[in-house]
């Protein structure tokens, strides 16, 4: 923003291209660096960077992003093997961490700092220095007036000072020419406009800095907790956990959270209306607090926050093997697949029969079962467990868990497994379906054991997050917002008066100039004129209403003046 000059009128500067022209020749390295810096901090380059940032941010809305949805990225790569890999290498699946996105916003912020820092100095100096000298001629200002009054110059000046009031910083001076003494007032208001502008830009820098800091120190963990059990705020206790590069174990607030109960309310149409997790919070000092967590109402524990992010059903199952030993017992998470909470889950029983054969179940849970005429379950009609039915398919063989490769615990890998089947009345073989309701038990075929569905519990998914930058983000966002409003709406005005004695009174010349768009400037001038000259005889009608002047064929000077008047950071 080399062309930016914060102080008002800049004479009749030619309104050419805003960027500095022409690269220097033979200036050596320093010259080139200086030229490059001037380019980078010019408004034209800042504008280009601003628009480039908009352009490079968009791919993130079109392509799935790994931090937000890794599964969708995997699907995309599978569907588009060739182009997908190329896009992946170019960073299109993690746009906001890609080198090109970072380059654009970092350059933009460097440009911004390079522009704002000199302006901050200039503004501080301008505030110290107060209003500038009164221009020699008012002719080039579109908003001006000249009146004759029957008051002495001193009375006029006193009236003007009263009219300008405390809103204006002002300076009154005297100019002696021969034996004519001319009084002058230079007044300026609205320093807050530039202050706000600078505060806005500096707050954006602050926002970027605290966000980066937050990314480095934050941690976030996800845990699924079944009613009756607990989680501990410790990296090992989470299902997923990630933290910034500067993450410090000591920053993790020590606490334990027990899920006592989970309630959900649905409307008759099945729309969720409320979710509430009743929890007990235990701290190291032995204190226990019963509280609730619900969407939009996270639990704050010290600096960490606990969010309720999901819920579902966990049937409690017990599997005995052929020998009658209990091979598995406990709640199994079933993930909801639709709005009626039809849920799917998997039971892996590697310990059955001493590991040979192992048992695996794939199941569907219907919270409120809908039956066909012959009694088979068609689906779920309502998310609440009014008539829960669990249907399991049985697989036997080697579950493949022993090779050490990570497995998705919600998917049954059926390679190496055989599905148990049964014969219908007409002799066709169909997969065996074990139908269970809470409290029921069924025998597995061929004396392989039994499954018991003892009760249906709820589970809740919690996100625990600690990011110390959040309050700072709020602070800087607030400053940026207030600064922006001030920079756009506070009028920055200068008013000049020149009062010289005339026969029977004084001649008062008044001119006003605003920075940026200011529809109230003419009114302000009229107000001052009315205050100094209630009985004025208008000497000239040169006034051009600022808000209405067409100025489509203005004089060259007028054109320059108007351009300058529009000039604003």
């Amino acid at each position: 923003m080399a062309r930016y000059a914060p102080e008002g009128l800049k004479g009749s500067a030619p309104s050419g291209a805003p960027a500095p022209s022409g690269a220097p020749r033979g200036l050596g390295l320093r010259g080139w660096l200086r030229w490059g810096w001037r380019q980078l901090t010019s408004m034209r380059v800042a504008l280009i960077l601003l628009l480039m940032l908009a352009v490079v941010a968009l791919p993130g809305a079109f392509f799935p992003q790994r931090p937000q949805d890794p599964a969708a990225v995997a699907d995309y790569l599978e569907a588009n093997p060739g182009s997908g890999e190329l896009l992946d290498r170019l960073g299109f699946f993690d746009v906001y961490a890609s080198p090109w996105f970072s380059a654009v916003y970092l350059l933009l912020f460097v440009s911004l700092i390079g522009c704002i820092v000199p302006r901050t100095w200039a503004h501080a100096q301008a505030m110290r220095a107060g209003p500038s000298r009164v221009p020699r001629s008012f002719a080039r200002f579109p908003v001006r007036d000249e009146v004759e009054v029957a008051r002495t110059p001193r009375e006029v000046v006193a009236a003007a000072e009263r009219a300008l009031g405390r809103g204006y910083k002002r300076r009154t001076g005297r100019v002696q020419r021969g034996d004519v003494e001319t009084l002058e007032i230079s007044a300026e208001r609205g320093y807050g406009r530039e202050t706000g502008n600078l505060a806005f830009h500096l707050a954006l820098v602050g926002l970027l800095v605290v966000t980066a800091w937050g990314q480095l120190v934050q941690y976030r963990g996800q845990a699924v907790v079944v009613v009756g059990s607990s989680m501990v705020n410790s990296a090992v206790d989470y299902d997923t956990f990630d933290a910034g590069a500067w993450y410090d174990v000591d920053s993790q607030e020590p606490f334990r959270l027990r899920l006592d109960d989970f309630t959900s309310v649905f409307t008759e149409a099945g729309r969720p209306d409320a979710f509430t997790a009743d929890v007990t919070l235990s701290r190291p000092d032995g204190s226990e607090t019963a509280t609730t967590i619900s969407p939009n109402d996270p639990l704050s524990v010290g600096n960490a926050r606990v969010y309720l992010t999901g819920n579902g059903y966990a049937p409690v199952l017990t599997v005995t093997d052929a020998a009658g030993d209990v091979a598995f017992s406990g709640p199994v998470l079933f993930l909801p697949q639709d709005t009626a909470y039809t849920s799917t889950g998997v039971v892996l029983v590697p310990d059955a029969n001493g590991g040979d054969p192992q048992l695996g179940f794939r199941g569907q849970l219907f919270p409120t079962a809908l039956y066909a005429a012959d009694g088979t379950v068609l689906g779920s009609t309502f998310p609440q467990p009014d008539d829960p039915v669990l249907i399991l398919n049985l697989w036997t063989g080697d579950l493949g868990l022993d090779d050490g490769a990570p497995r998705n615990l919600f998917v049954l890998d059926t390679t190496g497994l055989t599905q148990a089947t049964t014969e219908t009345a007409d002799g066709t073989e169909v997969p065996l379906e074990l139908v269970l309701r809470p409290g029921e038990s069924v025998e597995l075929p061929d004396g392989q054991g039994s499954v018991t569905f003892s009760e249906l519990r709820r589970f809740a998914a919690f996100d625990v997050r600690w990011d110390p930058s959040v309050p700072w983000m709020g602070l800087f966002a607030g400053i940026a917002f207030l600064g922006l409003a001030a920079s756009l709406f506070l009028p920055r005005r200068r008013v000049w008066l020149r009062v010289r004695p005339a026969s029977g009174g004084s001649v008062v010349q008044v001119a006003a100039l605003a920075r940026g768009d200011d529809p109230g400037l003419q009114r302000e001038l009229d107000r001052v004129v009315a205050a100094v000259a209630p009985d004025a005889r208008r000497r000239s009608t040169t006034t051009t209403p600022a808000t209405r002047a067409p100025r489509r064929t203005p004089t060259p000077r007028g054109a320059a003046a108007e351009r300058e008047a529009r000039d604003d950071g």
Binding site: A54, Y96, P295, F481, T553
Partner: protein, 337 residues
């Protein structure tokens, strides 16, 4: 109550359609035979009918909120209603202060389109909201978003008109350049110097006094329909300033939308910013309008570029609502479709 609301909003759609036709009649009359009528009856009818529509629209919106038991802007249908009423309200209120009836045809067209799409594609029954939306931030974040969208809409109408006006001015200037050195016959209109200035003055008189009772009659009337019409509308610079003022207010509103959204996201989703498609698009819109404001504050650009930038921002704004909500999967997919 939900049905009464629907009927009222449909009624307002009918009223706005009548207003649109009347505004169009007014505009064609301006461009037609009688360029300097003092009474623009069709425009007055259009404004009156718009107020009627606005009243029904407002009551309909309130009843919708009562029927659903919450603020009436929680899905795409209701958001359309809300930003439509803000656009129409902004136009009508400003029109009481200064005559901007020339924008009526743009604004009513826009609102008629918005309401038609709302009924035709976006309608859902009045109902409560999901727990994740059940927060007082729904009242803040979404209402400010709707209000900003409404303001941006009216500003976009002014920018579009500005571009049209500029084309016409260039034609007039080209013609004036041919006849340039010839002063207007003395005595006919004493204060005016050239044909071109006269045109300007007429335009300004329309803007200030409203009724088209221009002080000076043009000695050389524009010969084309567009020429006669545009000569009675404010000049492109005046339209540009008008658009800028609305855009500046709307930009502050949009900033508040994004900030309030981030605060809400922190409480609801556990992070202030997560590059959800809607968040990304909101940022892009913010950047485009920020570029517009910076450009306007810098020397050396023609005012046409401001208009193009403002319109680009408006297109992104509309895409953010109609395209992103429907076709992009994200956490803002609450359209109820």
């Amino acid at each position: 109550m939900g049905e009464i609301s629907t009927v009222l909003v449909l009624g307002s759609l009918v009223a706005y359609t009548v207003a649109l036709i009347s505004f169009a009649v007014d505009i064609s009359a301006l461009g037609g035979h009688a360029p300097h009528r003092t009474v623009r009856r069709a425009a007055n009818i259009a404004v009156a009918v718009s107020w009627l529509g606005f009243g029904m629209h407002a009551v309909g919106l309130v009843l919708r909120g009562l029927a659903a038991g919450r603020v009436p802007w929680a899905n795409m249908y209701e958001f359309s209603l809300t930003f439509g009423i803000v656009a129409m309200g902004t136009f009508l209120v400003i029109n009481r202060v200064r005559d901007i009836r020339y924008l009526g045809v743009f604004v009513s067209f826009l609102v008629v389109c918005v309401l038609t799409v709302a009924f035709w594609q976006l309608y859902v029954e009045a109902d409560g909201v999901q727990p994740i939306l059940d927060s007082y931030w729904l009242g803040i974040h979404v209402s400010v978003a709707a209000a900003s969208t409404g303001l941006f809409s009216v500003a976009a109408a002014a920018s579009a008109l500005q571009l049209l006006q500029h084309r016409q001015e260039r034609k007039v200037e080209a013609r004036a350049a041919v006849a340039a050195p010839v002063p207007v016959a003395a005595g006919a209109v004493g204060t005016l110097e050239t044909v071109e200035l006269d045109t300007v003055d007429t335009a300004e008189s329309v803007e200030t006094s409203g009724a088209g009772s221009a002080g000076g009659t043009s000695p050389r009337r524009p010969s084309s329909f567009a020429g006669r019409l545009m000569a009675q509308l404010p000049g492109s610079e005046s339209l540009e300033r008008f658009a800028y003022r609305l855009n500046a207010v709307a930009f502050v509103g949009w900033t508040l939308t994004v900030v309030a959204g981030a605060i809400w996201a922190e409480a609801a989703w556990g992070r202030p910013w997560g590059w959800d498609p809607k968040e990304t698009w909101s940022l892009v819109i913010w950047l485009v309008y920020a570029a517009y404001l910076h450009m306007r504050a810098t020397v050396g650009w023609t005012i046409n570029r401001f208009a193009w930038f403002a319109l680009a921002g408006f297109v992104a704004l509309m895409a953010n609502f109609y395209v992103v909500n429907v076709f992009f999967a994200g956490r803002h997919s609450y359209s109820g479709l």
